[in-house]
């Protein structure tokens, strides 16, 4: 303990360590029946860190390029010591991160934690969610297997449906008219350089905002506690909440390890651009609700192309959702919760429908 004390004193003397940590010591976390939802942000952050660490390890062996990518992932899975574990954890962690990010978003929406003064926290969180989806979309192609190839083809085709900017955007994403090795190398660039850089900045901002404004309490409870301060219950952030969060991280680590060992991530078959797409091809589960919606929309709705209409509708819905803190005021307050319930039910319903649909 003497060593730690000396190190602490050394840092404190130079950087004012105690002063820096003072807000953390004073920080508290409200305790109520929905407190467990507060863990989701931390778990998502933990999974992001896992992604960064396993991603760096995969980079030691992964080779981007249509002729090498599949073989290099195969090499990682079969020849590299614990390569299978690192790749499986990376893939499972990515999926769990998307899940916890969505769950975190909906918990914030239902607990109305986006209210003034936390509008920017919501906005930064939403952009982070889009980045997480971008990570998923770009990373899915990197093993260059058949499913990834055709899912990317379909996904970028949908992007091409956006009016005016759709086609140039599709060309930009693909690096040409078709999905080729050029697409793979630029997706690799997005996945390991552009998106991590942006995500790290935004995570920093998001955490800073969370620290600045403290943790939100649901409106009803907030009113009760204001009226009756004696009823207020809270725990210290450090060590009480931090240790609980650490326990949640350990549980997440156990789940990841179990998934990786029992269900190692499949490698599939190497992509062949000259064969036809396998029947019933579907994107990753987190894009399934959008994919299925576009599938069920008729090809023509009045004068508009069905797919274009679907893409526009998702764009409008995403924009409305993004602006939730600014909409949730006055009369609109009443139906914001209903909107969140409908959005959640729609996403779950269409995902299940898409999973079972042929």
């Amino acid at each position: 303990m003497g060593l730690f004390r000396n190190l602490h004193d050394w840092l404190d003397e130079r950087f004012g360590w105690n002063e820096l940590l003072a807000p953390l010591r004073k920080k508290t976390v409200p305790v109520h029946r929905w407190s467990h939802w507060y863990f989701l942000g931390g778990i998502t952050l933990f999974l992001f860190v896992i992604q960064v660490l396993t991603g760096i390890l995969l980079l030691l062996y992964y080779r981007p390029g249509a002729n090498e990518a599949f073989e290099s992932v195969q090499h990682i899975m079969t020849q590299v010591q614990f390569g299978w574990l690192i790749r499986s954890i990376h893939s499972w962690s990515a999926n769990l991160m998307v899940f916890t990010a969505f769950a975190h978003m909906f918990s914030v929406a239902f607990l109305k934690s986006y209210r003034k003064p936390r509008e920017l926290t919501w906005l930064s969180g939403m952009i982070l969610l889009f980045l997480v989806l971008g990570f998923g979309f770009s990373g899915y192609l990197l093993p260059w297997n058949t499913l990834a190839f055709f899912a990317t083809k379909v996904g970028t085709e949908i992007t091409g449906q956006v009016p005016i900017i759709g086609h140039p955007l599709m060309i930009f994403l693909r690096g040409g008219e078709e999905v080729t090795g050029a697409t793979l190398t630029r997706f690799f660039g997005f996945h390991v350089a552009v998106l991590p850089g942006l995500a790290t900045l935004l995570i920093g901002l998001h955490i800073l905002l969370v620290q600045r404004f403290g943790i939100s309490v649901p409106p009803k409870l907030e009113a009760e506690w204001l009226a009756k301060p004696a009823a207020l219950r809270e725990m210290k952030f450090f060590p009480n909440f931090a240790l609980r969060e650490l326990m949640a991280w350990y549980v997440a680590l156990g789940v990841l390890g179990a998934l990786a060992a029992i269900f190692p991530w499949d490698l599939g078959v190497k992509a062949d651009p000259f064969v036809s797409a396998p029947a019933g091809i579907k994107p990753e589960w987190y894009f399934l609700f959008m994919f299925q919606t576009l599938k069920v929309i008729p090809s023509k709705v009045f004068f508009m192309d069905g797919e274009v209409l679907g893409v526009l509708a998702f764009g409008v819905a995403g924009a409305v959702w993004l602006m939730l803190p600014f909409i949730d005021s006055g009369r609109a307050r009443r139906w914001v919760n209903s909107l969140a319930v409908v959005a959640l039910a729609y996403i779950i319903g269409m995902t299940i429908y898409g999973h079972f649909a042929k």
Binding site: Q74, M77, T78, W84, L85, K236, P239, N240, L243, R244, L246, M247, Y250, V251, L253, G254, G257, A258, A261, I262, F263, P264, D266, L267
Partner: protein, 429 residues
Amino acid sequence: MATLQSKSPALFASRCLLVVAAGLLLAAAAHAQTKNSCLECHSILSDNLGVTEEKFSQDIHAQKGLTCASCHGGDANNDDPEIAMGKKAGFKGKISHPQIPQLCGSCHSDPDVMRKYNPGLRTDQLSQYHTSVHGKLLAKGDGKVAVCVDCHSVHDIRPPSDPRSTVNPVNVPATCSRCHSDADRMKEYKIPTNQFAEYKKSVHHEALTVRGDLSAPTCVTCHGNHGATPPGASSVAAVCSTCHVFQAQLFDASPHKAAFASAGLPGCVTCHSNHGIQHPSDALIGTDDKAVCGQCHTEGDPGFVAANSIRDHLAQLAAAIDSSDQILSQAERSGMEVSAARLDLVQARDTLTKARVTIHSANVARVQQDIQPGLASAAKNYEAGKDALKERNYRRFGLGLSLIAIGIVLTGLRMYLKQIESGQNSQAT
């Protein structure tokens, strides 16, 4: 135009009239060329004499510009039936059945004529026909045998590449069976009528109709088309060997070649049958009930021993491949990556296929030599499967240990939290 009009309106008008008149003349000439007075009547006549314009327009000859008169003579431009079908116009009327080959041959055997329409088409159909059973019987005065139109149809003859053609590979068996499955018709020739029924059960029919393989053999592949004749016992192997080259070469070098010839047995079909040929299986070789070797070999003779030995070798390799396949599938179901071993196992399967061809040599040593690499490959991949399962168990053991460690840490953290919080509570009170 404005300049021309302003110079001389009368000259411009006269030129316009000239253009219109020339157009009308051209249209009239074109109408005269395409006029077919035959169809005007025959399209409304009943069955025997009726040929609709729609039907005839499907005919390759009509599409190449030939008319009714090209075969039947007469003058298709004349509306008067007496003149159009008069002797002066060279009208031949209905072509009698025995005369049809000669009529078709008048163009199809003439390279100069065929060069104008289809330079790639052979011109030996008629000479081949004369060598066929059909042609020979026709020459003997049998008017019921098949002539050109019986197979190619008439007035709506399509090229064989057209899927609707009666001589398209997919339709050939049905076309032949129209006569050859007719027991009454075949009675006087004393030939069986079950060929088509047998063929429909065969591996060749499956390849043709299920797999859509247009190169799969039909009646004409073995019997010939225009020169159709049943292959004799000595030429059956030659017919089969056009596709099954290696099997035929091995058979020719085997002791069976001479033995079959001396016994008058027709090569391939002795073991495989002809029209109803089934997908060969390893059960065909050996000496049990389903095997064919026992038809000639009896217990104790060298062939009997060799047949059993070959059967055992094939069974050994097939079993080794199955075992490897099963263990690799089990590893795959456990999420293990064994695609390299799977690919390697394909080589073992190829070896088995090769050995199944080599059995036509009736040489045990050669079969044994062929299956050795396959056995080695299957054994190697079985080991790869075993290793994958061992690795799976190692992973699960590691997972168990990790979960225990995580469980211990979680319990420790929980206890530590309790301790801290009880201290905080006591401080608060």
